[in-house]
């Protein structure tokens, strides 16, 4: 605790870097995977290709990717952008699947109703498809957020400064406190981001708050949860398992 307070500036600086390095990939990943996922969902042959390439990319171990990217991108090996690029690749790999699943989960009747009401494809995507895709999409975003925050610290091995620096530094100096502070702050960051994402999801799906209870009361609740647990055991599972 004493060490933490004495080095507050240093630690907060690293925490901020860590946050930026894990949130940027989340945003870039989302921006890239929406059009990619939409195309994959519309066109079957592309879907298979996109999904298999993305699961292959996800298979590449993080440290290997961190090292390979500078050669591919032409950046310096110590550039933090390598880390951001690598985490963006993982984010896209996971989120493309989430986008496809999310669009798939939308009731076709709703879509047809929107078409009948005169929505053109472009507007329909933003006004109907995208809002309804939010719950499944956010399940994916939450998984990516947690894994990004945890993976970013590995970047410290290739010299990127973030909370991982506390681990490498702590090991060199054989200083336990520093490592514990690093672990605690990483966990806090992950929890904080998760809460933010949950709050954002609730803001974006106002109908869940308004009509959710009435809807559940009418059905056999026990079976309902069991069945939905079966289809989507855990957002993390759904995203990671093939």
């Amino acid at each position: 605790m004493e060490w933490f307070l004495a080095n507050l500036g240093f630690v907060l600086d690293l925490t901020w870097l860590h946050l930026v390095q894990s949130v940027l990939p989340l945003l870039f990943g989302l921006l890239l995977s929406l059009p990619l996922g939409y195309t994959a969902w519309r066109l079957r042959p592309i879907r298979t290709a996109v999904l298999s390439v993305s699961s292959m990319l996800y298979t590449i171990p993080s440290l290997a990717l961190f090292v390979l990217l500078p050669f591919v991108l032409g950046t310096s090996i110590l550039d933090p952008m390598n880390l951001v690029a690598a985490l963006t690749i993982y984010a896209v790999a996971l989120l493309v699947r989430s986008v496809v699943d999310a669009l798939e989960s939308i009731d076709d009747g709703v879509r047809q109703a929107a078409v009948a009401m005169g929505y053109r494809p472009f507007r329909r995507f933003f006004a109907v498809d995208l809002p309804l895709a939010v719950p499944v999409l956010f399940a994916g975003l939450r998984v990516v957020s947690v894994s990004n925050i945890s993976l970013a610290s590995v970047g410290a091995l290739i010299g990127v400064r973030n909370l991982g620096t506390l681990f490498t530094d702590g090991l060199l100096r054989f200083f336990l406190t520093e490592i514990v502070v690093g672990i605690v702050l990483t966990l806090l960051l992950a929890v904080l981001m998760d809460l933010l994402l949950v709050a954002a999801e609730q803001l974006l799906t106002p109908w869940h708050r308004a009509g959710g209870k009435r809807h559940v009361a009418g059905t056999d609740q026990g079976r309902q949860t069991r069945a939905s647990a079966g289809e989507r055991p855990d957002p993390a599972e759904a995203a990671v398992l093939p």
Binding site: M56, T59, I60, P61, S62, L63, A64, L65, V67, L68, F71, I77, V146, S147, I149, S150, L151, S153, V154, A156, L157, I158, G159, L163, G164, L166, F167, T168, G170, L171, F174, F175, L176, I179, V180, G182, I183, T186, L187, A190, V191, R226, A229, G230, E231, P233, D234, A236, E237, V240, L241, P242
Partner: protein, 239 residues
Amino acid sequence: MNIIELVAQWFADPAQWSGPAGIPVRLAEHLAYTGLTLLIAGAIAVPIGMYVGHTGKGRIAVVGAASALRALPTLGLLTLFVLLMGLGLMPPIWALVILTIPPLLAGAYSGIAAVDPTLVDAARGLGMTEWQVLAKVELPNALPVLLGGLRAAVLQVIATVAVVAYINLGGLGRYLIDGLAISDPVRMFGGAILIALLALVVDGILAVVQKFAVSPGLADRRRRKRRETPTVGAVQGGM
């Protein structure tokens, strides 16, 4: 000469393929750490997952613990264990075990929990004991999800074992860490390619295993599921 040619030359050099720091030895080390970690983690996670999935007891605790463990930073845990337990083989392995438990636990638990409850009831109705229900009905039905969890776990261990080289152990990660230490991009690039290849090959093998390990009745159900409603397909296919 560009980097690709240099790396090709590095791979072609016979010195890389023999001796205690050669690629075969590093690969064997990498696989040995991975295997040891999976054995220990599996012995802990799979029985717990099956118990929780079968009885439904402690569901919230397991799901919560699995996602909390997922957020733990790999490198932080590795360095913490080395500082607490000292250098040697086991401290990093224990850290790896902790990181491997969540996917295995989640796979075992959600696989068993997702088995259609009507199938389990039918099995009990036929007079099966709880052990028989677990071994003859729930486990075969849960196998695809369970193996999916194993696949995720194996990939994670292979990736994390690369990081272990930073501590004091061998494995393919040595090329990355040593290459970085002496600013040798060729060695780093070669090592990264080896690790990526290992992950892709192992994942491919597991995908094939997963395909063949699924009981024929279930494979049939999957095909039928697309045409019929899920519940009908599950009952027919599962029996």
